[in-house]
């Protein structure tokens, strides 16, 4: 499992990059979902969102999941590339497959990589 230490994480498997403001789905999440075939972004540029809001819907060959926003703030960019190539969420979850970019967000309440790994381990049966 890949858990970059520069990112912050939620218990529902989203990551947030404090440096860039980008948000995505973690490696642990993509691995549990298996082949992702559909990504729909539920927010647009300019929307103000709160932590916990549904920002995307993701479907794999065996499950579907809602992606929650890890942070509150204003959406300044969305990644249509992830919508066009859903499998990028599997192949490059922390790079090409970012979902949205948020401005003015705080990392309060988010886990660091170490804490997230412990959390994943407790859920991984």
């Amino acid at each position: 499992m890949n858990t970059p230490s520069n990112l912050k994480y939620t218990g529902t498997d989203e990551w947030f990059d404090p440096a860039s403001g980008k948000v995505g789905l973690s490696d642990f999440a993509q691995n549990s979902l298996s082949d992702i075939v559909f990504v729909e972004l539920l927010v647009g540029v300019g929307d103000t969102i709160s932590a916990g809001d549904h920002i995307a819907s993701v479907e794999s060959v065996k499950a579907s999941a809602e992606v929650n926003s890890p942070v509150s703030g204003k959406v300044v960019a969305i990644n249509e590339g992830a919508v066009e190539t859903p499998d990028s969420l599997n192949s490059d979850p922390y790079g090409a497959a970012w979902l949205i970019q948020v401005e003015g967000a705080s990392t309060d309440g988010l886990m660091d990589a170490g804490a997230y790994e412990v959390d994943c381990a407790s859920r991984d049966h």
Partner: protein, 449 residues
């Protein structure tokens, strides 16, 4: 053979495990007098006697087989080639269900795939699902889908009064517990049937406008302009279409519709006693992930051979669960097969010919009515159904027609209070010139008609 596989010993063991002595103990919460109530039933009949009784009861029935029928209003009396029935009754196909283990049912999947392909080419749309129960539920699913496409942000649906009354009722039943408002179809007063008034009702909270083609009164309108104007306001348009008409006229796809649904019964399914029926549902590829039901696709297997799969079942409970936009996960498999067989059999030209016969017979009838002084209400082009105005209550006239071996048209006053004494009459290839002449003359001879 017994269908209960448990032996007495096994049963006793199970009872002991759960701590009761006898099977009856399991039912002790039901008062004894209600467990096996005495039923007031006549004594049993032999097979021969039962057959005679049923044949006698059936003989009281008067059907479109022995009578001339001019009743349409959503279900139409078309010829069903005998091949349709022969294929439907084949054991390999004889189930109403989409298979739960789909990949081993290649024949069923292929039949659904063929059905989907035929429906998209008929409606001029990009994709079709594996079908719904009937035209009414397909229309309601269109409302569901449009609401989901707007992500719940657009909560208004504009229904034209020209959409089948039962479909409008079904839509209202579907949305009654959701945050969706239905407008546009108040028929209590004089109806405004103009397309302009429908467009005027569209605002930035409108998800969908639903129109019918031909509309419930048979009118054939080109919705291209309406669709452009509705799209400009950010809403979608669903066209409820008669599939026979699509064999002859411009398709809703060509008009720019987002969703095309309808009743599949005219395509090779008998009238039966009001069902089972078939709802077709077609839309554009970009909406596929919001579409209810199932989608069968063609692919190749690991050996490179052609095969069929359930391409999309994401809407179903087992994947989308409580987040599904619809709880419909089945289809009307056997009826979809019937329609696919019908369409494959008559072909593009055959369907055009059926539609043309319907059109010509209806227009012959309209000319005859006018000649006999009966007013034809429609003032725009119509397909195979139109409205006539009579001087008397339609239900009384229909009673009279029955004595002449004629099943009369639909009494519009039932659904449209302002259309008292208005009868909706339908004509298909099943109506001979003699039948039509008899119908017109019988109505003209009516003392008060």
């Amino acid at each position: 053979m017994t269908y209960i596989p448990h032996s007495s010993a096994e049963r006793d063991e199970m009872l002991e495990t759960i701590g009761v002595k006898t099977l009856d103990d399991l039912f002790k919460d039901i008062p004894a007098e209600h467990r096996f109530p005495k039923l007031d039933l006549p004594s049993a009949l032999s097979e021969m006697e039962a057959g005679e009784l049923l044949a006698e009861l059936a003989s009281y029935n008067e059907t479109n087989k022995e009578m001339a029928s001019f009743l349409g209003a959503g279900m139409y009396n078309h010829y069903v080639p005998s091949v349709v029935d022969h294929i439907l009754r084949r054991g390999e196909f004889y189930t109403a269900y989409t298979p739960y283990q789909p990949e081993i049912s290649q024949g069923t999947l292929q039949a659904i795939f063929e059905y989907q392909s035929l429906m998209t080419s008929l409606t001029g749309m990009e994709l079709s699902n594996a079908s719904h129960y009937d035209g009414a539920t397909a229309t309601a699913e269109a409302v569901n889908m449009a609401y989901a496409i707007s992500r719940g942000k657009r909560t208004k649906v504009v229904l034209s009064p020209g959409v089948h009354p039962h479909y409008r009722e079904t839509v209202k039943t579907y949305v009654q517990m959701q945050d969706i408002q239905v407008t546009g179809d108040d028929v209590s007063n004089k109806m405004d049937m103009s397309l302009e008034s429908l467009v005027d009702q569209v605002d930035d909270s409108t998800a969908l406008v639903v129109v019918q083609y031909p509309d419930f009164f048979g009118n054939l309108l080109d919705y291209t302009d309406l669709i452009t104007k509705v799209h400009a306001k950010g809403a979608l348009v669903c066209v409820v279409a008669n599939p026979t008409a699509l064999g002859l006229f411009k398709t809703p796809g060509e008009m720019g519709a987002d969703i095309v649904v309808g009743e599949g019964q005219p395509l090779g399914l008998p009238l039966w006693f009001g069902g089972p029926s078939l709802g077709f549902f077609t839309t554009l590829k970009k909406h596929v992930h919001k579409m209810a039901g199932r989608l069968v696709g063609e692919t190749v297997d690991s050996r490179g051979e052609k095969g069929y799969v359930l391409t999309l079942t994401a809407r179903e409970q087992h994947i989308k669960r409580e987040r599904a936009t619809s709880n419909i996960c089945s289809n009307q498999g056997l009826m979809a097969l019937g329609s696919a067989v019908y369409l494959a059999l008559v072909g593009k030209n055959g369907l055009k010919q059926v539609a043309n016969l319907c059109y010509q017979k209806a227009h012959y009838a309209a000319a005859q009515f006018k000649k006999h002084g009966i007013r034809v209400v429609n003032d725009v082009p119509f397909f195979h159904e139109f409205v006539i105005e009579l001087d008397e209550d339609v239900s009384e006239i229909n009673e009279h027609l029955l004595h002449h071996g004629i099943i009369g048209g639909y009494d519009l006053s039932k659904d449209y209070p302002t259309l008292k004494n208005h009868m909706l009459v339908a004509f298909t290839e099943m109506n001979s010139k003699e039948q039509i002449d008899l119908f017109v003359e019988t109505l003209a001879e009516e003392p008060h008609a």
